[in-house]
């Protein structure tokens, strides 16, 4: 191992020097690190330590500051205060280049890859060896293949990134770091796009790496994963240290308390409740609210993204769609809302075929949408809070008539909703770009539930939310369900689906491979369906 890696272009890394007494001095210390974005204190004097040959789990809800502190370690963010020491030596890291030269590698949650480049080009980008002319690169190619095999990754260096599945693209990310001679590997929410089986195999690879002398920081908001893969755990909450503990000494309960804090009554929480949510018998006698038959839809590249997809959603039920990201979820949801044209198939909403409907009339008829990517699909950064809140509903009689807008009514409704949904903002006329991610999502939720709706289509509604906010979304969804709302919940978070749904359909390469009722939910069965290994009737 040492041989392969020390021949990397960055062989002068401090991390590779084998100092005596290395167990005494931590490999990495970050002390009193502080980072402020605008008025938002993202990190408030956070400290952490990493020892050699260990996996440190960095645990916390969204917005806890986990990614921020790791972006600082990797040179992407400049800290406002604090110091970083490697093997006891103070270092300054001003750019990713500095981090790479110090032997630090980072795998980001959203892969930082150039889709039109090949695996090889993505890996060698920015390194000195990329200056080699074509024929001499063959040596590099072999090196990459060997390195990949060593960690059980089978990958063709010449394939173009956009053609690869998510699992393979993550391997490319790890290879990028290893190729640069990383001895300290940061993984940011690495399991987001993986099936349960792939998660197991990732953890195995990490263990191999640690045994061969590397150290790993593993960012996650999933408690179980960190208990399974980590050696030690540091918990962050709202940009502050809470606890650091050995895995052996940690209990699930103490970690939950640490993550959540006092803001949430764990005993009443949906997320941490021990008792199961009751499956409601969907009211089948009135017929489904939404019925989809043999749907076929293209993606942006005009390739078939959804084929032969059929399902029903009834009043008072939550139907989940499970699947690894990029299996057609986006195209499915967008075709249901008539944002994306369908090739064939039928969609009927309340027994009415929607073939001629446009998005506006569907929204007016009571179809509500919480988009997956709220920044690009749901949010107007340069408009104010009130303008954001009425998007899609600006032509309803509440907000004006005769083609005119009644701003007084809009503002007073906005004020009510700001209070009800606990949106932290200066008021209806504050610029929306000033809001934090969690508050923007609350705005999206408030927008939807402020209207009389019959069908809710929610795509990853809790992505990026902290635990109390997630909790808020869950209880709102369950409440609305009790009042008869039909919900289609598309999520890449299997735990979320298993917690909330009455039935779960699994999508794989654009087809539904089976629908399970609540009493037959099984993580590994669904995992196999997600990877196309098993289908289920």
């Amino acid at each position: 191992m040492g041989m392969t890696l020390s021949s990397s272009p960055y062989s002068y890394s401090i991390l590779q020097e084998r100092l005596p007494l290395m167990s005494r001095v931590p490999l990495l210390e970050m002390n009193q690190v502080r980072k402020v974005f605008g008025q938002n204190v993202a990190l408030d004097d956070v400290s952490l330590q990493l020892h050699s040959n260990e996996i440190l789990g960095l645990l916390g809800g969204n917005g806890a500051g986990k990614t921020t502190i790791m972006n600082i370690l990797y040179g992407l963010y400049k800290p406002d205060a604090g110091e970083i020491c490697l093997r006891g030596e103070k270092v300054s890291i001003n750019s990713p280049r500095d981090a790479i030269e110090l032997g630090i590698g980072m795998v980001h949650q959203h892969f930082l890859q150039i889709e039109s480049f090949t695996v090889m080009q993505n890996i060698i980008l920015g390194t000195r060896s990329s200056s080699l002319p074509g024929d001499q690169r063959n040596g590099e190619k072999e090196r990459i293949t060997t390195m990949a095999r060593r960690f059980d990754m089978d990958i063709d260096p010449d394939s173009v990134l956009e053609a690869l599945p998510m699992g393979a693209r993550q391997k490319v990310e790890i290879l990028k770091a290893l190729y640069r001679g990383a001895r300290l590997l940061i993984l940011d929410e690495p399991t987001t796009n993986l099936t349960p089986q792939e998660v197991d195999s990732l953890f195995k690879s990490l263990r191999v790496m640690v045994e061969e002398g590397m150290s790993v920081i593993f960012i996650t908001h999933k408690l179980r994963e960190v208990l399974e893969a980590g050696d030690r755990i540091t918990v962050l909450r709202s940009g502050q240290n809470v606890i650091t503990t050995e895995i052996s000494k940690a209990t699930e309960e103490s970690l939950v308390k640490a993550m959540v804090g006092e803001d949430l009554d764990v005993s009443k929480s949906v997320i941490f409740s021990q008792k199961d949510v009751q499956q409601t018998a969907a009211s089948t006698e009135v017929g489904p609210i939404l019925e989809v038959r043999d749907l076929r839809v293209n993606n942006d590249e005009r390739q078939l993204a959804i084929s032969d997809c059929s399902f029903q959603v009834h009043s008072g039920e939550i139907l989940g769609i499970a699947g690894v990201a990029g299996n057609g979820q986006r195209e499915l949801v967008e075709s249901l809302l008539a944002i994306r044209p369908r090739l064939s198939g039928e969609i009927s909403y309340q027994d009415r075929p929607t073939i001629d409907e446009d998005t506006r009339s569907l929204i007016e008829a009571g179809v509500a949408y919480i988009p997956e990517d709220r920044w690009s699909d749901g949010f107007l950064p340069t408009a104010n809070v009130a303008q954001n809140l009425i998007l899609g509903y600006h032509r309803t009689p509440t907000f004006g008539s005769g083609g005119l807008l009644d701003w007084k009514a809009v503002f007073s409704t906005t004020r009510t909703l700001i209070d009800e949904y606990n949106v932290k903002t200066a008021g209806p006329d504050e610029l929306a770009a000033n809001l934090s991610g969690g508050n923007i999502q609350r705005l999206m939720i408030a927008r939807v539930f402020s209207q009389p709706i019959e069908l809710l289509i929610a795509h990853n509604p809790t992505r990026g939310l902290d635990i109390p906010s997630t909790e808020g979304v869950y209880s709102k969804l369950l409440d609305a369900k009790d009042k008869g709302l039909a919900t289609l919940l598309v999520s890449e978070n299997l735990d979320e689906l298993m917690l909330l749904c009455d039935r779960i359909a699994t999508i794989y390469r654009g087809s539904l491979v089976g629908i399970l009722p609540r009493d037959r939910f099984d993580k590994y069965v669904i995992g196999r369906m997600m990877s196309g290994v098993q289908s289920y009737e």
């Binding site: 749901g378 998007l391 899609g392």
Partner: protein, 345 residues
């Protein structure tokens, strides 16, 4: 509550006004160095630039006559900008609007003013709208970048006006490509006859008020604003984004076409090659200085009109090239833009 609201508005107005004042001072200071370096008396030059408009009635009327087309050109730029589209074709739309107005004015030359005047104005508006509709449709149908097409349409309009003024309705007695005059019924009435000031100036102010009402009070105006703020999100929430793009560009063409019609009907009473002056560039500069805000545009337009009239006087009296004022205008724009960056930090 309302008290707090009004102090808030006052503070916002102040916050909006201050960067402009600083930008103007800074750019005059910077341009002053330039003027001094060229060997002119800075204070005398600035006095001429700033006060020519206000010293004589003639100066003020000249300023208003500049103000009208500049305001329309600026709005023709900022309305599409509200929807996130760049209309760099106001010049072509003005020219073709002027051609349309002239054509109507010549073809129906004997009609009485009650009929001919509205027809001339409408002819200009429709011609401008159609000229803008070409790039708008290319954007709508083929997704062709509007910056390039609108600007290329300007060059085509240069040839068109030349053809009309030298081949179709050429006035053989003029030394410069010019058409014969339109019927007298097509001329705009005057508010003041000596020096002449036509009622178009009032019409333009009404248009600016209407535009402001449209963007701030109507559902359609709201849709245009949100389309500009985030087209993707707007589409997801049922707003016909492509139609808004199309509409915003055509609306820009309407205003630019009107500015052409006013030049013909109010000022020249005929088509003259070059009547577009540098209104497009100034219009865009005004729109950018106002940061696309239709409330601010009229004030900036008036300020730029003052500078332009002052600069012409400067060239007459002190022989400073009229393009000098361009440097000042560019600097004002630059400093206004920079003030945003400063505030962001």
């Amino acid at each position: 509550m309302s008290d707090q609201h009004s102090t808030n508005t006052a503070r916002q107005a102040l916050a909006r006004f201050t960067p402009y004042l600083l930008a103007i001072i800074a750019s005059f200071a910077a341009a002053g160095i330039f003027i001094a370096a060229m060997g002119f008396n800075v204070f005398e030059a600035y006095e001429t630039i700033l006060f020519t408009s206000f010293r004589t009635q003639n100066g003020f009327i000249q300023t208003l006559l500049k103000f009208a087309p500049l305001l329309l050109q600026a709005l023709a730029f900022t309305i599409p900008l509200t929807a996130g589209k760049f209309n760099i074709g106001g010049e072509g739309q003005l020219i073709v609007g002027a051609i349309g107005a002239t054509a109507v004015g010549i073809l129906f030359t004997d009609l009485p003013a009650v009929l001919l005047l509205p027809m001339v104005l409408l002819g200009g508006v429709i011609a401008g709208a159609l000229w803008a509709a070409i790039p708008a449709w290319l954007l709508y149908r083929f997704n062709i970048n509007e910056i390039l097409t609108t600007v290329l349409m300007n060059f085509i309009s240069f040839s068109l006006i030349d053809y009309v003024a030298t081949e179709i309705w050429r006035d053989a007695t003029a030394g410069h490509p010019t058409t014969i005059p339109i019927g007298s019924g097509g001329e705009l009435p005057l508010i003041i006859s000596k020096p002449p000031l036509h009622v178009g100036v009032l019409l333009v102010i009404l248009v600016a008020v209407a535009v402001q009402f449209y963007t701030s009070r109507t559902a359609s105006g709201y849709e245009m604003i949100v389309t500009g703020a985030n087209p993707r999100a707007s589409q997801v929430f049922g707003i016909p984004v492509k139609r808004m793009f199309l509409m915003s560009l055509v609306l820009g063409g309407v205003l630019a076409g009107l500015s052409g019609a006013l030049e013909v009907s109010g000022v020249h009473h005929r088509l003259i090659e070059g009547l577009q002056s540098n209104f497009l560039l100034l219009g865009i500069i005004i729109g950018l200085i106002a940061k696309g805000d239709s409330k601010t545009v009229p004030f900036v337009a008036f300020f730029i009109a003052v500078l332009e009239v002052g600069a012409s006087a400067l060239q007459r009296t002190m022989m400073v090239p009229v393009e000098m004022v361009f440097i000042i205008e560019a600097l004002v724009l630059l400093f206004v833009l920079l003030s945003d960056v400063v505030r962001r930090r």
